[in-house]
């Protein structure tokens, strides 16, 4: 009997969410197949790679990242340098310094950076906060207002602040919004439901289901991504058919493998290469499990992951 190949294409599809405007705008999602299974049906929008910039600058970053941005004297130049990375699709601005439990930088400082960056580049922008729900709501509200017409992604609304954040970002200022949960499938779905109950069309939501670095409880991340995509595609669950964006770089550059110096652990070799390996390995694993976009820091990681994606499409 001849072999009859059966396509694993699903009857359901992930929604397509566009961020940015003009030529540089990127489309996330849209697929009706398992992650990266372009042999089952064409994947119109390949997974995307974003570059993370934080308001701390690059003082404490690894040598390779620091070197890449050397000579940049303002946020506009930093943004242009980041945008010039081979394989970069969008930029992510993150305001760690605004955390009230840390430096508590005022919202005006965040806005100044946002305005400088927005003026210097036409790359799609993703605005991330400081992890404090209340302060994030303030930053997001001002950022969404300042960036009207740029179709940015506000990344992201959480259980504690979704009402204000989603309503301001999408309903008041026409931006896209992220829905953030921490490796919790039920909360991931619940947030999508309640955000849509605020009046936000589900086509404006990108999921941020959280991640860990490969090796650090990462199997929960994989099972979460798997279950979300299985429900979205296999069970046609409309409440989970949002594309997923994952902030990989922020996690992987904080673990020991990426920070311990070669002097401390000579057997592990150069720290910069190790950090890139951790970042690339984690990024590819979340992409293979269903993430539609990853956020990275190191130029070598950005180039490597985007090349891998290209080869797989």
């Amino acid at each position: 009997m001849p072999f009859n190949g059966k396509s694993g294409k699903f009857n359901a599809a992930i929604r397509t969410v566009e961020i940015g405007t003009g030529d540089k705008a990127v489309k996330l999602g849209g697929e009706c197949v398992a992650p990266l299974y372009s042999f089952d049906a064409p994947i119109e929008n390949a997974p995307k790679v974003g570059v993370l910039i934080t308001d701390h600058g690059f003082e404490n970053e690894s040598e390779g990242i620091k070197a890449y941005y050397e000579g940049c004297s303002n946020w506009g130049e930093i943004a242009q340098r980041a945008a010039a990375m081979e394989g970069a699709d969008f930029l992510v601005l993150k305001f760690d310094k605004a955390d009230p439990n840390g430096e508590n930088a005022p919202v005006e400082d965040c806005l100044a950076i946002i305005n400088e960056v927005a003026a210097a580049t036409d790359m799609p922008l993703v605005i991330a906060g400081c992890k404090n729900a209340e302060k994030d709501a303030e930053i997001f509200n001002k950022a969404a207002e300042a960036l009207q017409g740029k179709n940015v992604l506000i990344f992201s609304a959480k259980e504690e602040n979704y009402k204000g954040v989603a309503a301001s970002a999408v309903l008041a200022y026409g931006q896209k919004v992220g829905a953030e949960s921490s490796v919790d499938i039920n909360l991931a779905k619940q947030l999508n439901v309640v955000i849509s109950q605020v009046g936000v069309d589900m086509g404006n939501i990108v999921m941020n289901v959280g991640t860990a670095t490969a090796g650090y409880g990462f199997e929960y991340v994989v099972s979460t991504l798997d279950r979300v995509k299985a429900a979205a595609l296999g069970q046609d669950d409309a409440q989970l058919q949002m594309p997923i964006m994952t902030n990989v770089g922020d996690e992987t550059w904080a673990v020991k493998e990426s920070t311990a110096s070669e002097a401390d652990i000579p057997a592990w070799g150069p720290v910069d290469a190790r950090g890139v390996n951790m970042e690339v390995a984690t990024a590819m694993a979340v992409l293979a499990s269903g993430s539609n976009a990853v956020i990275l820091k190191h130029p070598t990681s950005v180039a490597t992951v985007s090349k891998l994606i290209k080869e797989l499409m």
Partner: protein, 261 residues
């Protein structure tokens, strides 16, 4: 596993309001019932036009287009003894939200409705009885096999035959209830889809009892693998039970708001 499929039963010519609307081809009462059922969470809507011997074709075409146009091509079950009317309905049916369901065939005089479904790439409800209620599960399963073979011989996918064990009324046939549930288990073990008029069980019971009996039965039937039922989706207790069973069966992913979606 796929989510349990509810087929809303409230567009039925046995209702005086609907009968009158169908006689006059007045869309409002029908669309109102369709909306109530969809708002309550029905997936399919059953459209029963009765025997409709005179104007069945015209009436079914009108009903299909009227309801599908108003509700984003909601999938429908076409329910009448008039075969030509079913075919006419399918000829104007939009499949974008799901195949039409032919309601229904049996292993006796209505077996040709399987052929009709096969010829029109439709789903068919296959009632496991011939002349009268099956005496036992041996007879039920014989009918099931016959209808399955008939469908498959004509190229139907087995998943397009939805087997109906024929739910029986408790008041009078209480001793047969477990047998019906066992038949559902047998369909499920054969990986076949199943459906049926679940609320038959509570016929003749006080109004406030019926949702309780229907909910208990649907839970037991879903446990045994029932994949669909023809129900009144406006019965909140029943719909909440179905949604909760879908969670236990891992057919839908739990979220705190699961009853609201």
């Amino acid at each position: 596993m796929a989510k349990f499929v509810t087929i809303g039963e409230r567009i039925h010519c046995i209702s005086p309001v609907i009968r009158k609307a169908m006689e006059e081809m007045n869309p409002e009462p029908i669309l109102k019932r369709a909306k109530e059922q969809l708002d309550a969470g029905a997936t399919y809507l059953d459209v029963n036009i009765g025997p409709a011997e005179n104007n069945g074709e015209e009436l079914m075409k009108w009903a299909v287009t009227t309801i599908q146009d108003a509700f984003d091509n909601v999938p429908l079950a076409l329910d009448t003894a008039n075969k030509k009317a079913i075919e006419a309905g399918i000829s104007v049916y939009n499949r974008s939200k799901g195949k039409p369901i032919v309601n229904s065939a049996d292993a006796g005089g209505r077996i040709e409705n399987i052929d009709l479904a096969a010829a029109n790439d439709a789903i068919v409800i296959a009632l496991c009885s011939a002349e009268g209620i099956a005496a036992d599960n041996d007879e039920r399963m014989m009918h099931c096999q016959n209808m399955l073979e008939r469908g498959m011989m004509q190229g139907m996918d087995p998943s397009d035959l939805w087997f109906d064990p024929l739910f029986l009324v408790v008041k009078g046939m209480q001793d047969k209830q477990m047998e019906v549930l066992e038949a559902i288990k047998m369909f499920s073990d054969m990986e076949l889809n199943s459906t049926g008029g679940l609320s038959n069980n509570s016929n003749g019971m006080p109004k406030h009892i019926r949702p309780i009996m229907d909910s208990a039965l649907v839970a037991m039937a879903m446990m045994n693998g029932l994949t669909s039922a023809i129900v009144n989706p406006c019965d909140l207790r029943l719909m909440e039970t179905i949604k909760s069973c879908d969670i236990f069966k891992n057919n839908t992913l739990y979220a705190d708001s699961y009853l609201e979606i």
